[in-house]
């Protein structure tokens, strides 16, 4: 059974001067017990989709169902089944950690004690600071508290909108460990992230851009589907190198990727030797054929979209 079904949803925001299409005819199915990642850059429409699923935003067209409840008609049932963690930290900064948790437990008609086992792993990490005001917590701690609050009523489905944005790498890693644990307890998790490296941690991912879904698949399948050759190229003069690579006859795309450039060309059109020959005027040149990452696939898809 599908935990979440999104059927042809569109949402536009209108202002006097312009109309922004946040979601453009999106359909998605998320299975029960899945850890599903919504991957896309800022402004892709991820938060709008989350807010529609959380029943706080109405779609213009289309419908969505959560555990067979319609997000518009049966929103009351849904609110008891989901735990929603908005992208922005939205707990009471002037209440302590414990008071926040207690408050949200009560609002959701439960108590901390009743569901303590579910949150104990996470809450133990922030329990030493339970008398500290939420506003005084570090970024990672805040997210753990927010997750605890979203979990306190034992939801069947977790909607986590960019939970790791602005969180340090260690806390990010810890956070994903927690998500895996929650998944093993049978909770369906829909998580969004702008970080491509987190895509591999999901069971399935959807790549989203400009309100459209580019692809939905297992992370490894998305990589496997990549039917082009990809090279990592670096030299002393990176700027000149980028220009040279973009002017190369077989180049499909070339982007700066950390300390090297990723060059995408049609399969078997060139190899390392040919490239070294072409780039002979560069010093300290290194050319290496590499396996594509999700990010490479995403960039390529964007390229072909345009």
């Amino acid at each position: 059974m599908n935990a979440i079904e999104i059927i042809n949803i569109s949402k536009t925001y209108k202002s006097k001067t312009k109309t922004i299409t946040a979601l453009n005819n999106i359909s998605l199915e998320i299975k029960e017990g899945e850890l599903f990642g919504l991957i896309g850059p800022d402004g892709a429409g991820k938060s709008s989709l989350f807010r529609i699923l959380a029943t706080v935003l109405l779609p213009d067209v289309g419908s969505a169902k959560i555990l067979n409840y319609d997000v518009i008609k049966n929103f009351k049932n849904i609110r008891k089944l989901i735990g929603y963690m908005p992208g922005r930290f939205s707990l009471y900064q002037d209440l302590s950690v414990e008071e926040n948790l207690k408050f949200f437990a009560t609002i959701f008609e439960t108590t901390i004690e009743e569901n303590y086992d579910l949150i104990s792993d996470i809450y133990k990490q922030i329990e030493p600071f339970k008398n500290r005001r939420a506003g005084k917590l570090s970024g990672g701690m805040k997210q753990k508290l927010a997750l605890s609050c979203a979990l306190i009523h034992k939801p069947k489905i977790l909607l986590l909108d960019e939970p790791t944005t602005g969180v340090d790498p260690v806390s990010r890693k810890e956070f994903w460990e927690i998500l895996k644990k929650l998944k093993s307890q049978g909770i369906t998790i829909l998580v969004s992230t702008p970080y491509m490296d987190e895509a591999n941690l999901c069971d399935r991912i959807a790549l989203i851009q400009n309100g459209k879904i580019l692809d939905v698949d297992l992370p490894e399948n998305i990589v496997n589907k990549f039917d082009k050759d990809i090279f990592s190229v670096a030299s002393d003069n990176m700027f000149l190198l980028l220009n040279d690579l973009r002017n190369y006859s077989h180049t499909l795309s070339c982007f700066a990727f950390g300390d090297s450039h990723h060059l995408v060309i049609e399969r078997n059109k060139a190899d390392e030797n040919l490239l070294i020959q072409y780039l002979s005027r560069h010093k300290n040149l290194s050319v290496k054929k590499i396996e594509p990452t999700i990010e490479d696939c995403f960039m390529q898809m964007l390229q072909s979209e345009n």
Binding site: V56, K76, F108
Partner: protein, 372 residues
């Protein structure tokens, strides 16, 4: 019920934790009631007076004495010409000039008639108006004095005159504070009830915490009650502080009953908080909320009859005051405190304020949506 109880606990935790806010809630009514009744005093005293006496007669001296012997006027000096005197007025050394013409005494005795020229600085229209009317009554008094003086040898009462003696009902000494303090109480309750509620709800919007409440099974009425009850209580606390301060400081206590005041305030606050909630649904940021709230506060106060009597306003403005809940509370609290009116006499006021409460709250409930 448990949810509502927790909402209230949370709200009070937040308010009490905001030390500055708590201090302000207590200090504002005290400070305002200590300072404003003195500052907002309409009685005008020590009006600076310049005199141009062209007659230098016994009568002219008597008239000037009559002016300077009151507290209202303070003699700035005698001048030889009107030109010199007007120069004093221009330099703000004088607010009123009296010019007594030449042959003032002679004309008065021979022709039975003479004229005095009075000039008032009308930069402040109120001072000017009052000082002219004070002058008129002093001159009238002077007039009566000389008539009586002349008539003494003859039969008294040969000239019929009507003497007006007024008595100020409900405020016998015309104590300005009796009039302004009850109005200030209303102002304070309004300030706390309206401004704080509005900003508090918008803060939840700005912080995004309202989003968490919106996805919860919390019912709309629970949320609204959770927001209104704390400020309803705070409003009544402020009213109590105001009552204590005005009794201790000014000896003002209601001729009517405290119960009537509190009953009216309780309903008034429901109306006001509903309006605050409505405004908060319009605003997205605290800045917007503050500005909208201030806009209404200004109108509420200026069209509320606190400073300027409603009867003096043009008809269209009088009509607007009828749409202003503040004007009803000011009127009602004055009636209760000064006149001793009870629920029976205030039935219309109660009726209208209940109507306001229903309208504002319906409006607020309809415009507050958990989903957008």
């Amino acid at each position: 019920m448990r949810q509502l109880k927790f909402l209230l606990i949370k709200e009070f935790q937040q308010i009490l934790r905001n030390k500055l806010l708590v201090r302000l809630i207590i200090a504002v009514p005290i400070v305002q009631l200590v300072i404003l009744p003195f500052a907002a005093n309409y009685e005008i005293q020590n009006i600076k007076l310049s005199v141009v006496d062209n007659d230098h007669s016994e009568y002219s001296r008597k008239l000037i004495n009559k002016f300077t012997s009151t507290n209202y006027f303070l003699l700035n000096g005698y001048f030889y010409s009107y030109k010199e005197a007007i120069h004093q007025l221009e330099k703000d050394n004088a607010e009123l000039i009296i010019e007594i013409p030449k042959n003032f005494e002679k004309d008065l005795i021979r022709e039975n008639e003479t004229k005095i020229f009075i000039t008032a600085n009308a930069i402040n229209g109120q001072t000017a108006g009052l000082s002219v009317s004070y002058s008129n009554s002093i001159i009238r008094d002077f007039n009566n004095d000389i008539r009586i003086e002349w008539l003494q040898p003859a039969r008294i009462n040969s000239l019929p005159t009507i003497e007006v003696t007024s008595s100020n009902w409900f405020n016998p000494k015309m104590n300005y504070k009796y009039f302004i303090v009850p109005g200030l109480m209303v102002l304070l309750v309004t300030l706390v009830g309206f401004l704080l509620t509005t900003i508090n709800i918008v803060k939840e919007k700005e912080d995004g915490t309202i989003e968490q409440l919106n996805v919860s099974p919390l019912k709309k009425y629970q949320f609204i009650l959770g927001k209104l009850i704390p400020f309803w209580i705070i409003g009544l606390v402020v009213l109590t502080i105001a009552q204590i301060v005005s009794f201790v400081l000014y000896g003002i206590y209601p001729v009517g009953s405290y119960l009537t005041i509190y009953l009216f305030a309780a309903i008034y606050l429901v109306a006001l908080l509903g309006f605050g909630l409505f405004v908060s649904t319009l605003a997205e940021t605290q800045q917007q909320a503050m500005f909208i709230a201030y806009f209404f506060m200004m109108i509420f106060i200026l069209l509320g009859g606190l400073f300027a009597p409603i009867e003096n306003m043009p008809n269209w403005a009088q009509f607007l005051t009828r749409l202003n809940p503040v004007s009803y509370f000011i009127e009602a609290i004055r009636m209760i405190i000064l006149k001793g009116s009870g629920i029976k006499e205030l039935a219309t006021h109660f009726g209208i304020i209940i109507l306001f409460a229903i309208i504002f709250n319906t409006l607020a409930v309809y415009s507050y949506h958990k989903t957008n």
